[in-house]
């Protein structure tokens, strides 16, 4: 009977060959999305004003909410953070199944990427919250579950620095990586499950016009490309560092 060998992710494979083109595509798509958000998608109306005025061929009778433009990047980066966590959990499971350190490396990098996008989501969300709600922070269900998610991702990366033994470190990290992913559906569904949540749910409320949907789609595709390219760049760096360490050990022997 032949033992089935697991194909390990490695640098120089097809993802690395397409990564530069994907990065350029990501930069282009996010730039197009940015321009669309400000030049194509009309501003969302807020509270009604005491009359109406003709602006750009449309009769406007509400306050124009320019702060809503933050949403066009806020939602896509949040979705990319969820995608990165899904990949991290996938590699965590693969590590627990195969005990191959390479999968642990992949999971660590995916977690880093997810932390980057979580931070970007938090920054954009905070700016919108401060202006629209008048506070920097509120213990609202979506914000709270997302904060918990961020803390789990940070805990994952802190834990990695605290354990020296690679096998133990990878096992504990894999478990935390899977727990972090469990928080993703909770985080996503919490505004639908708790009616008192004041966080906007645009998809459920049908609040997106076709132009808004297209703009969000373009930026999300762009951010997915950026996330993928960053993952491959970081993977290349980490593998190079691992090779340096391996050669150093050989020379010392």
């Amino acid at each position: 009977m032949t033992k089935k060998t697991t194909k390990l992710p490695e640098t120089g494979q097809w993802p690395d060959r397409v990564a530069p083109a994907v990065l350029v595509a990501g930069a282009l798509l996010t730039t197009v999305g940015f321009l669309m958000a400000f030049l194509v998608v009309p501003p969302v109306g807020g509270a009604a004003v005491g009359g109406a005025e003709l602006i750009g061929g449309s009769l406007i009778s509400n306050k124009l909410l320019i702060s809503q433009k933050i949403f066009f990047f806020h939602m896509p980066v949040a979705m990319v953070s969820f995608c990165a966590l899904a990949f991290a959990a996938y590699y965590c499971v693969w590590f627990l199944v195969t005990r191959e350190q390479r999968f642990d490396t992949c999971a660590k990098i995916a977690m880093e990427i997810s932390l980057l996008f979580v931070v970007m989501t938090m920054i954009t969300g905070e700016m919108w919250t401060r202006f629209e709600w008048g506070v920097w922070w509120t213990w609202e269900p979506r914000l709270t579950t997302y904060l918990v998610l961020m803390l789990i991702v940070i805990a994952y990366l802190v834990l990695r620095n605290m354990i020296d033994e690679p096998e133990r470190r990878a096992t504990f990290s894999a478990v935390i990586g899977i727990i972090a992913f469990v928080d993703v559906p909770i985080c996503f569904m919490v505004t639908r499950l708790i009616p008192s949540s004041i966080h906007p749910v645009v998809v459920r409320e049908g609040g997106m016009s076709p132009e808004m949907g297209l703009c969000v789609g373009v930026i999300m595709a762009g951010m997915l490309c950026v996330g993928f390219a960053l993952y491959r760049l970081r993977f290349r760096q980490v593998r190079l560092e691992q090779r340096v360490e391996a050669v150093k050990e050989l020379l010392e022997d």
């Binding site: 005491g50 005025e53 124009l64 990047f73 190079l240 050669v247 020379l251």
Partner: protein, 66 residues
């Protein structure tokens, strides 16, 4: 100025700093991560070059000893 227009545009200027900060910080976070990767890669490549030189030196020394 038309009071209705004033009311329609009343949130535009006050929200501008938050809007600009959101976009600027978002790209700054991405840029910082890219710079960290580039710095790390350059350092690792430099270390690899040094190791290659050390290996080549060791190989030539062992050849001359033989």
């Amino acid at each position: 100025m038309n009071p209705i227009l004033v009311e329609i545009y009343s949130t535009v200027i006050p929200s501008a700093p938050y809007l600009i900060a959101a976009y600027a910080l978002l790209w700054a976070a991405l840029l910082v991560y890219v710079l960290m990767i580039m710095r790390g890669t350059k350092r690792a490549e430099a270390q690899m070059r040094l190791l290659e030189e050390a290996v080549a030196e060791q190989a030539s020394r062992s050849r001359s000893e033989r």
